[in-house]
Symmetry: C2
Subunit: 419 residues, 2 copies
């Protein structure tokens, strides 16, 4: 894509109402737009990141047997009354509105009731289970405060998968698989080395739930990390008994701030009982399905990557989720430079390499370098009079201080062999 | 995909509360689920269709210079007050809700205000225009009645593009291009032969707006079609003067029911003036941007395809948007059949052909045929004792009465050469 045609522009100033680093860089880079506190729109560069995260998650969900759907945002009061989660006294983050005939409806803040109602009509026999269903969806939560940029939104884009198993054993097998799937996802988006499977408080059916916590000073949680075996304990269950039951030693655990980038939770049979999702087992008994839930917020994940991988000049995107692979800068207005930059751009495009060319005229080299650092595309390739004199293109990683001259054919080889 | 693992099942009965053909077939086929009147969730088969429609539209929007973003559903009252479209007396389809501090917010029912506010911060000079920005989004409209299945929803998934041009001339050039783009889209999704560019009432800046109307008895509009030059006039502007100005003869126009599957509209400069989207032209004057809007409802498009292309046995999907290309039926429980069906399935998968295999056991051939007709996948391939005896697979189109035996290599050739 040509940067001269991209409708967003970088900003030098940090918006005065933003206190989080993720919002600062994402707004300055033109990745997101703040509609109101906790509500952001994704601009073209930001949407490219979100789509890549979405595709990584979708691939993993499909690989584990997930079936994707797209459930509605508007929610039926009657369904949520059955699980006692309609009343604002029970759930205090509802956004509610009304149909013309005064019927109250709600905006989706979670998906269990939705999914269970949909599946109910298709489940009769034990042969119909297990079912793993998921969707990507805009979720609305009426949070009192929202100051963490895209890390805690009133409106946010998430993936939720629910597992409907025949019994606890079948559930546990899938739950263990999902732990691995989630680890894969966080590795793929580039924060695996900072993300820990974390024991948190459970519910009626399980002693613990499991969070995936990424270490960052911007985190809202306190966790105690055991580096030896790459797990952590959330402060909420950080007790001697718990530490011992996990075979850990208290003095080896290190306190960190963490942000919950995903969670997996054993819900058990309550929801199935309330919403009448029973099946007939092989002995003819009516049995409620055993449910688990598995969530990831995509905006939060994107925000977390910015928090943990940026430097003081700007963002640093991992190649897997970067909006483009290469940022090609055309420096100077000489005809030789313009022609060569265009040539390199077209050769990269023809090789299916995702490239953003900074072809803006009247912008100094210094400004182009600063913008490139802010946008954080993994590789920077510079065409200038100097690079032409040296018969090549100056290539450097966003994380490197100095670049080196490579020939066009070397550049193309490097990036086509990476695909 | 294996049908035995698909969590949806077909239904024989039509839901008693649905009067439209699209909802009947889509619900019976397991493509959609009704949450409440006018609010549907898309189940795996339905979502596959929606995603294909989305990709066709995205490709066309990108080709015409569109830049995709993802705007928020929650809307800021202050922005809409500036264009005098917040008050329920002005716009009577708002869904509204409140933050904890009692601030009123709205749910997106259209996107002009949103887009204009976002772009405002990036537009200063004439060099920054034109901009073509679009998004796919769940839109909420508080309709009094909603009985047309997915053709008129209270919640629906749409694509909206807005063009921000320097002046009316630049706008008109783009507007004409978009007419062709829209025609391409309707051709690609398989309803081009029934869809007419239709003159409808305009606004302050243009005599007409343009709708794309597809002829169907399920339509909500009355249109007058000129077959000779493939255009139509909406009843709302069907007057002698209009007919004459378009060079048409009244007695050659044929009355039809139509459904509006898309519209393109010249908005002019009003919104830019209200929301302060001015730029400095090459003479130093402050000028408001000239705006156009271009919408398509994806669910409505899907519903329209069902209305116009189905028969009494079920749906008939065009290949471009079908959930799968081939429905492979495994008939009978003999080992030879099961092995051969599995073999054909795996060969098709290995060739990247989208195939749904009906591998359900204990289901009669008659039921499998009926389900296949209902689901409407373009090609049906049958493996049975008879087909094995004839050394092949019985292949037929959904629209054909009789199939013919083809060898596995012929089948693979046929579908791999189609990609």
């Amino acid at each position: 894509m040509q940067q001269s045609k991209l409708f967003t522009k970088t900003k030098k100033e940090t918006p005065s109402d933003e206190v989080s680093k993720n919002a600062e860089f994402l707004i300055r880079g033109g990745f997101i737009y703040k509609e109101m506190a906790g509500v952001y729109s994704y601009l073209p560069l930001g949407l490219r990141v979100i789509k890549k995260i979405e595709n990584i998650i979708r691939e993993e969900m499909d690989a584990i047997g997930g079936q994707e759907m797209k459930t509605s945002i508007l929610q039926n009061k009657e369904v949520w009354e059955k699980t006692n989660r309609w009343d604002d006294k029970e759930v205090d983050i509802w956004f509610k509105t009304k149909l013309k005939n005064d019927t109250e409806i709600g905006l989706s803040w979670s998906n269990e009731e939705n999914f269970t109602s949909i599946l109910k009509q298709y489940v009769n026999s034990y042969k119909d289970l297990p079912i793993y269903a998921y969707d990507f969806k805009d979720i609305m939560r009426n949070e009192v405060r929202s100051k963490s940029g895209i890390m805690r939104g009133r409106e946010f884009y998430w993936k939720a998968l629910y597992s409907f198993s025949k019994d606890e054993k079948e559930h546990n097998d899938f739950y263990e698989k999902m732990k691995i799937t989630y680890s894969n996802i966080f590795k793929k988006v580039g924060i695996g080395h900072l993300t820990y499977l974390t024991f948190a408080s459970g519910g009626a059916f399980s002693k613990y739930s499991h969070e995936f916590q990424t270490i960052t000073s911007a985190g809202e949680d306190t966790i105690y990390v055991s580096e030896d075996n790459a797990i952590a304990i959330n402060k909420e269950v950080f007790e001697d008994e718990v530490i011992a039951s996990l075979g850990l030693e208290k003095n080896k655990l290190v306190e960190h701030r963490g942000i919950e980038v995903g969670n997996i939770f054993t819900l058990g049979t309550n929801k199935a009982e309330s919403l009448d999702l029973y099946y007939t087992d092989d002995k003819g008994n009516k049995v409620p399905a055993f449910i688990g839930s598995y969530g990831i917020g995509l905006g939060r994940l994107m925000g977390t990557v910015v928090e943990v991988l940026s430097d003081d000049k700007g963002m640093i995107w991992p190649e897997t989720i970067a909006p483009f692979k290469i940022h090609l800068l055309s420096l100077g207005e000489g005809e030789a430079v313009l022609l060569e930059a265009k040539n390199v751009y077209e050769k990269l495009l023809a090789s299916d390499v995702e490239v953003l060319i900074d072809d803006r005229s009247g912008i100094s080299a210094g400004e182009k370098f600063a913008d490139s650092d802010l946008l954080g595309i993994p590789y920077r390739a510079v065409v200038s009079e100097r690079s032409i004199k040296e018969n090549g293109i100056e290539l450097k990683k966003r994380t490197e201080e100095k670049g080196k001259i490579v020939s066009l054919s070397e550049l193309l080889n490097l990036f086509t062999s990476k695909i």
